[in-house]
Symmetry: C2
Subunit: 279 residues, 2 copies
């Protein structure tokens, strides 16, 4: 299948591109900066087309992106700051009009990355049929984009697969996520790693498994709508951290209780992955 | 109190302006077109300031609108078409940035007109604490504006009174609402009035009572958040129509069952007005 992947140089996007190539798909990759993209392993294996979402310099995006059969929309700006108003004030409409333009020109298979932050401060097992009350601008921006795309389905015929991501581990990156920080601490041979008490329950997928699932969701047509992309199993954060340190064979010591829990996240929550498992 | 009223030449707005003047408030009235505004009875009694929401030609709106203590935001475009995408594609962000600018400059008392369409296709008694699932672009646009303004409350200190309007009668207008059509039919001495079977349950307020309530909500500071502005009493549409014809002393005959129920509205719904009644 010929698949357009946006945000192809982002943390999730680059993994999705690699996975699709591995599965033999034809990939059109896009991102803002071609120079940055050129350093990625996949660069010579895709059709790369630079594009800044929100710019209006290309009228026929469908032709520009070589008439893809499907899109996996991984792009989203400023993910380092969940509380910034740009998520609703800029990203939302930029991404809405971008996807609308792609859809209007005829792409009928649309997969977009959402987030478990759309659920808001809800504890326990979160299922796709729940009412959501996102409480930070990132969650509000993503959830509103979903509502707008569902609204578009009343005037355009397309399949929308809205993937709610939970947590993942197993891929290094320079974010401030727990495992990214732990990776850096291990790499730097820090003796101590400061963390919360680690008793939160969370839902983690291995990164490689996560991108496999995103690819699988995109290419199938049995299920659509909101799809939790998660393990379905609550894991105590401390257990995952200890296992990770064991695998990495690191002598690092944990300083538990150094940080409080984030006020932006429920303490115990995980996803219901019944729907995902039907694929 | 010095109160800015937007949409002052609109159906609700002009009634709100008149009511505020009657109560002795100082009114700054705004709308797009000063010429249109000049035909209104209230024109010589207010400070009128023309403004097109969405334009960016005035940087200090607070000063331009003479530093009001409160705003009642009645403006909203294209109310004749609930299904038009402009509600989310244009109105939403135009109105958000307009209100944000007013709020940032220091107005702490903000009242905005919402709609019962925010609830979506829900039957029965609708209360402010319910989860909402608006199903047309008008309801989605308004509800999203509310969510965005609530989000702004985490960075700016202001009181938000979000008024959900239900139905009203008793004021002529040229819209396609049931009572506007009935008014025209009576005025034209039509012999027959085509309508649905009229068995829907709805929540109607007399127009004069409605604008009194909007004014009362704006000037008080006991309650805020979402406020249903309604009678709290379900009324069978046919009963209200028959009563209205009796009051108008019209010989017009009703052709019931000519129209089907609107697929965009639940058949039976009314508002819980417990909160409103605490004022």
């Amino acid at each position: 299948m010929k698949i357009l992947v946006t945000g192809s140089t982002g943390f999730i996007g680059e993994g999705v591109v690699s996975e699709l190539l591995k599965e033999g798909h034809e990939v059109i990759a896009t991102s803002r900066n071609e120079h940055t993209a050129s350093f990625h392993d996949w660069f010579s294996s895709v059709h790369y087309k630079p594009y800044t979402i929100g710019s209006k310099d290309i009228s026929d995006l469908y032709a520009y992106f070589e008439k893809p059969q499907a899109v996996i929309h991984c792009a989203w700006d400023n993910l380092h700051d969940y509380r910034g108003l740009h998520h609703v004030e800029e990203n939302l409409m930029n991404h809405y009009f971008f996807l609308k333009s792609i859809i209007e020109s005829g792409v009928e298979n649309v997969t977009v990355l959402g987030t478990c932050f759309e659920y808001g401060m809800k504890e326990g097992c979160l299922s796709e049929t729940m009412n959501v009350t996102p409480s930070n601008p990132y969650g509000i921006g993503k959830n509103t984009l979903r509502v707008f795309l569902e609204m578009l389905q009343s005037v355009h015929d397309f399949s929308l697969k809205w993937i709610r991501l939970f947590y993942n581990y197993g891929k290094s990156n320079n974010s401030n996520s727990l495992f990214a920080q732990l990776d850096r601490a291990i790499a730097q041979h820090d003796s101590v790693f400061n963390m919360s008490d680690g008793n939160q329950l969370r839902d983690y997928l291995l990164f490689d498994e996560l991108v496999k699932k995103i690819a699988a969701i995109s290419v199938q047509d049995r299920i659509s709508g909101i799809i939790n992309c998660c393990s379905g199993k609550p894991v105590r954060v401390i257990e995952l951290v200890e296992e990770y340190i064991r695998i990495k064979n690191s002598p690092i010591q944990l300083n538990r209780g150094y940080y409080n829990y984030s006020p932006m996240e429920p303490v115990h929550f995980w996803g219901d992955n019944t729907k995902l498992n039907t694929i």
